[in-house]
């Protein structure tokens, strides 16, 4: 069988895309193309792609100005960090971009802001839409997010305080009490609507 990437050399390696533990796609390639594909796949500057998409891009490189284009790829086995600054982890849930890519699931809603820049190409492809923007309704209360958030975090803190006291963890309790006092000092946001 010929390589499904360059269509020239004999295929020696099979690449499988696995989703939900089921094999989605299988492609047979030669070792040379495999090296290129590997470099492409581990390029953290690019959104997560299916093998078919990667091969399409590698084929593009092979036909276009070969050498110069190839030079833009990270080194083979490219788990070594790429040149651009690493994307910081989400300050709220601590998830990193590569963790998200490995699992395909976000950790919290903040990730959508933190990784926004890397997200749009992915969302555009998944949802076959450009630009990747929401259409249609949102909850009527969406404008009050800040208010709700503040109340929630206060309730949260109070709950944690109670738990800390119950566990006789007075150090944590003192810290939580300070946080609660701090939050309560801030000017109250007026309730809108209702």
């Amino acid at each position: 069988m010929d390589c499904q990437c360059c269509n020239k050399k004999p295929a020696r390696i099979r690449i499988c895309d696995v989703e939900e533990s089921a094999i989605e796609e299988q492609l047979n390639v030669c070792p040379d193309c495999f090296n290129l594909i590997k470099r492409y796949m581990f390029d953290m500057n690019k959104p997560l792609m299916t093998t078919v998409d990667v091969i399409a891009e590698v084929q593009g490189l092979l036909t276009a100005s070969g050498e110069t284009a190839l030079a833009t790829l990270p080194e083979a086995g490219g788990i070594t960090p790429v040149k651009s600054a690493p994307v910081p982890a989400c300050p709220e849930c601590g998830i990193t971009l590569s963790e998200f890519r490995a699992k395909g699931r976000f950790g919290c809603r903040r990730d959508y802001e933190v990784f926004a820049e890397h997200l749009d190409p992915l969302l555009e492809r998944i949802h076959d839409v450009q630009p990747a923007r929401h259409e249609g309704r949102l909850p009527a209360s969406a404008g009050r997010i800040e208010v709700v958030e503040k109340q929630l975090s206060l309730t949260d803190l109070r709950k944690r305080l109670a738990a800390a006291v119950a566990e006789e963890n007075y150090e944590a309790a003192a810290r939580l009490r300070d946080q609660i006092n701090e939050l309560e000092k801030q000017p109250k946001l007026g309730k809108t609507g209702e």
Partner: protein, 355 residues
């Protein structure tokens, strides 16, 4: 709202199995679901045990506040046996993912089994409404009522840019999935199914097996659903499915007609052999049962079988599943024993004169 009233439930069957509603000759049911998350908590996959039980509490309180607690069954899934969770999966009330999940999680469903709310699945809330037949508008409207009531008491995680925020980027935006469960025996017999898959995919719709992603299409049952949730409004998603599904239904009906007019003895033989086998078999495995039930459904629609109601066939599809048999027996059964029980059930339901 906290009582676990599981006992007795496996004997009652949901509205969506009654075999009525628009296009019931091909469509079993229409389901609409919304994925929602509570602001202020990480998504379930990254939430601690404590955060998960807090989310559960927030949601349960909210359901009480919108007065959903009077006519619903509420089950804490981490506190019931495996086979009972499996029954809920077989009944399409919860996903396999939720059944196999961990930590505090639950389901609340209406007694007619049209409404079901999964708590702490991949998203904090998965609301779904199932209607018998092809009835997107009514399922959508019914579910909207619940969702719009809940949003006044639960602060949903949303953003202007991406809409309703979900754990998986494939659900973000509207968080809405419309799934239509269809029975396509003629397209399967005539080997046109691949064509349907590809055509649906080109229009951003997926065709999957009976129990969702990655499952096989037993009994020629398939689910057609929208693949994309971002950049299209809820109404657009509804309109798209209303444009695509009827085309598939027409295709199936045309092939059924063709089978009946051009290959009458072939289709009659298949249907009547299935009926005879099911009325005599002493052991039936689940796959066998489903493929013969599929032929029965086809036979009823083509008028080859007149003494079996559609509802009986639809119900057997569910009641003959492994965990339904086991829960009705009150214990785990080895496969051979299940096959015997399944054959007994099928024979008694299909015996002439009982319907």
């Amino acid at each position: 709202m906290s009582e676990t009233t599981f006992e007795g439930f496996p004997h009652l069957l949901g509205e969506w199995l009654k075999g009525t509603g628009p296009d019931a000759d091909v469509v079993i049911s229409t389901r609409v679901r919304f994925a929602r998350n509570v602001q202020g908590y990480p998504f379930t996959g990254r939430a601690s045990e404590q955060q998960r039980s807090d989310v559960l509490k927030v949601c349960e309180d909210a359901l009480k506040e919108i007065h959903l607690d009077r006519s619903v069954v509420n089950i804490e899934l981490d506190k019931i046996e495996d086979r009972k969770r499996e029954v809920l999966v077989e009944r399409h009330l919860i996903s396999r993912e939720l059944a196999n999940g961990e930590g505090p999680r639950g389901v609340t469903f209406g007694r007619g089994e049209m409404l079901s709310i999964m708590l702490n699945e991949e998203d904090h809330l998965r609301l779904q409404w199932i209607k018998s037949g092809f009835d997107v508008d009514r399922a959508y409207k019914a579910l909207c009522k619940i969702d719009r009531a809940l949003e006044t008491v639960i602060p949903y995680a949303t953003s202007d840019r991406y809409g309703y925020l979900t754990a998986c980027p494939t659900n973000v935006g509207t968080g809405m999935r419309v799934s239509v469960m269809v029975h396509l025996p003629a397209l399967t017999l005539k080997e046109n199914i691949d064509y349907v898959f590809k055509a649906a995919q080109r229009m951003n719709h997926a065709v999957r097996g009976l129990y969702g992603e990655g499952t096989r299409a037993f009994g020629d049952m398939y689910q057609i659903s929208n693949q994309t949730t971002l950049g299209r409004s809820e109404e657009q998603i509804v309109e798209a499915i209303k444009a695509i599904v009827p085309k598939i239904l027409e295709f199936e009906r045309q092939r059924r007609g063709q089978l009946y007019t051009e290959e009458r003895s072939f289709v009659e033989d298949k249907v009547l052999r299935s009926l005879a086998l099911m009325r005599s078999a002493r052991r039936l495995n689940v796959q066998e049962m489903m493929s013969h039930l599929s032929m029965l459904r086809l036979g009823i629609d083509l008028g080859i079988i007149n003494d079996v109601p559609m509802r009986t066939v639809n119900e057997l599809f569910i009641l003959g599943q492994p965990s339904h048999l086991q829960v009705n027996e009150g214990r785990d059964l080895p496969p051979a024993e299940r096959d015997t029980l399944r054959a007994d059930l099928v024979r008694s339901r299909l015996s002439a004169g009982t319907n």
